[in-house]
């Protein structure tokens, strides 16, 4: 038992097609994908238009809930504030709570991406030496904000100010692991006694033009444009061919047990352990034998003070790329061996696509709902016959089953490996 236990008391979430966590959980239970053809990608003539994206209708509601003029703020900030409000409401907290105790904000986000119009405009303002004429560039800007002025920590600063965070704020840009790293960092800060209350998670809006070019040039995106959009993300299947770009945000309220009890907050779950490592095996893949992912999972379980047989369910990173899923499957087999027979697994990206920084936070929320409700999510587009690793018990249908402990993985480009252990309240 730890000196300071860390409770989850609330969460908020926005993902493609949904504006809250429960709707997303229900949608996946109904085996309905959030991946669709992205109108922007169709318009740009991309060979594969599949993406998980927050649509115009959703954005209308996000903007309507924003306290300031939403046009004057980057979309990431509008999204972060909306999700934060949900999380606070869910936890029964007023924003002032963060200014009254030792508190922190830990936010994962990878970047803001300009689009090609932004780049073209800047290019038109270069002088004969190739230097930008800043004055000319600023005069031509029609928008309130300048695309090149956006920063990766912009939404962190906005939320910190809005909530009156007192002690610690940080932005984590650890690629696909950033959301889990942010939650893990908040957990550590509470566990160490540095703070009592945290809001943590990630915001990512990369279902966009430049990220498509960039990840496509790596060969990481799904290469099978002829497959319907909702079927393209196929983690751990033999016919998987890359990930589907997605976006979204999730924020979680963490509190020390003492703080939660003082205010009679109802715990929704617990963070029990966490580990993260920079493995540097390869820029876009892990050790092929799974040993590096295994090391990370093992360290998180050890950090939780548990033995591996305590893990009942694994929410895999499961991106649907050949290499990642293979490495993760091997790691799971190395770590759990025969214990896999009694465990279930899920790959939420089968329904959501890969929202990079957002994925770890979104998957943590889905894991917490599974722990609370005793319902395990199906992995979409999965069937045992076509599975490459049939010994891993991914579910094709939702399963009503009470569980106590979930291990959730996030493995990022550059070898940022992170695993978090979540427990039932």
């Amino acid at each position: 038992m730890r000196a300071r236990e860390v409770y989850v008391t609330g969460y908020g979430l926005v993902a493609p097609t949904v504006l809250d966590a429960q709707s997303l959980f229900q949608r996946i239970c109904e085996k309905r994908s959030c991946v669709r053809e992205h109108p922007l990608f169709v318009e740009l003539g991309f060979p594969n238009a599949a993406a998980g994206f927050i649509d115009d209708q959703q954005w209308q509601q996000l903007r309507a809930g924003f306290d300031e003029n939403p046009s004057a703020q980057p979309r990431q900030t509008v999204l972060a504030e909306y999700v934060a409000k949900q999380a606070l409401q869910h936890a029964g907290l007023q924003p002032e709570a963060f200014s009254q105790v030792a508190s922190g904000l830990f936010l994962g986000a990878n970047k803001y991406c300009a689009n090609s119009q932004d780049l073209d405009l800047a290019c038109m303002c270069l002088d004969e030496r190739g230097s930008l004429d800043l004055d000319r560039f600023l005069q031509r800007q029609e928008r309130v904000e300048h695309p090149f002025a956006r920063r990766v920590d912009q939404q962190t600063l906005h939320l910190a100010k809005r909530l009156g965070i007192r002690d610690h704020i940080s932005t984590h840009s650890d690629a696909c692991a950033a959301g889990t790293v942010a939650i893990g960092s908040a957990y550590r800060a509470i566990e160490r006694g540095e703070i009592d209350l945290a809001i943590c998670g990630a915001v990512e809006l990369m279902a966009n033009e430049l990220p498509y070019y960039m990840f496509n040039s790596l060969g990481a995106l799904c290469q099978k444009a002829d497959v319907p959009a909702q079927q393209q993300s196929r983690p751990f299947m033999r016919d998987r061919s890359g990930f589907v770009l997605s976006e979204g945000a999730a924020l979680i309220i963490l509190e020390s047990k003492q703080h939660a009890e003082r205010r009679n907050a109802k715990p929704l779950g617990r963070v029990l352990g966490y580990a993260n490592f920079c493995e540097s095996e390869k820029m876009t893949s892990s050790s092929r034998d799974g040993s590096k992912y295994e090391h990370c999972m093992e360290a998180a379980i050890e950090d939780a003070g548990l033995l591996r047989y305590a893990i009942q369910h694994v929410n895999t990173h499961g991106t649907s790329t050949q290499v990642n899923d293979s490495c993760e499957a091997h790691a799971l087999k190395r770590l759990f061996g025969d214990l896999l027979d009694g465990m279930t697994l899920s790959a939420n990206k089968s329904a959501l696509g890969h929202s990079l920084a957002g994925s770890g936070a979104i998957e943590a929320v889905l894991s917490l709902i599974s722990l609370r409700d005793g319902v395990l999510l199906p992995t979409l587009n999965y069937d045992a016959q076509g599975a490459e690793f049939p010994e891993l018990r991914f579910l094709s249908e939702p399963l009503k089953q009470s569980i106590n402990i979930v291990l959730s993985n996030s493995f990022g480009f550059g070898g940022v490996n992170s695993s978090i252990v979540l427990g039932r309240a």
Binding site: L157, K161, G164, H172, G193, S217, L218, S280, F413, G415
Partner: protein, 360 residues
Amino acid sequence: MNGSHARQVYLVDLALLNAAGSSPSDRYAAAQPAQAPTFKLDRLARPIATPRLAIDLFERKIQRSVEAQGLRLLHCAARLAPALRDLQLPAERVALTAAIPEVDAPSPCWDAVEAIREQPHKLLGQLFANTPPLHALTLLNSSVMAYVAEGLRCNGPMAGYCSQSNAGIDAFIEAVTMLTEARADAALVVSSSPNITPALYLREGTSYPDGTDADIYGEGAAAVLLATVAPLTAPLVIRVAGWGRAYSARVERAAALAERVLEQALSTERVNLSDVELLVADERDPILRELFAPAATPRSSRDLTGDLGASALLTDIAYAIGDSRHEHEPRSRYVLLMTRSRAGHCGALLLEIAKMEKGA
């Protein structure tokens, strides 16, 4: 908020690069004139040339595929490789923390603008596919961290911080905590400042004051190696004696916040401000000047380096180490470093610096 430090943490080695030079003693030289960027003639800056990487540590392609800020950081990290090797630790026991403000956007976007200008006939997709600095991996801070981890073999716990001036103290504190909690036996802390591009000036309204001479930006990077054992051969023994950190977006709380952080940093060692012999902080910061008055006036290397953002703290550690008193008046002394950001962060670091005794 230090907690008790069961394991001591020592600074084993340090590397830096900026307009003032690349060794701690350079911080005490005369400042070279700052220059106006070609795209912003009404402002001064302290840019530096992009260094070549050591090919014994890094693959050649990295020189071409990482943008300038990342290269500066890798260059500094590489200089710590011999000291790290000397520790003879397994890679899994070496932690890595990083303060990298903007290796990702918008700098690569700026490279894209340059690429469009040079090859206007090409489709954007082709540019991104064929121009190495523009592919997906330069989007990600984790790429630079991975190059460090690969080149220097540090595969222990890691943490990355992506913001401006506070990222340096966050990365340093996290590394110290990893060591005191015995999750690693050594830690590499790497940091960099943003490239001086038009984007930096477009961004500044969000974090820097207008119209002050504090906004002479500098380019640079710095890295330190920390360990739980003191180096046997270094001329100075530098121990991390305390730290503090807090945040408030409310300007009216800034002075109280700085006071609280100062108390945190001094509390573990149970010392007072009067026990501190060297105060390193931005001498233009009115809150910090007030905090330290009348005991002393803080000093820093900012005049020589420009505002280095995320790499300022590690650079100022070098400034503290380079103080000639360590050499000429050899005895143990406390050095306090404090940082404050316009956004509302405040951090402090207490070091104890002693000259290594002969024969030790």
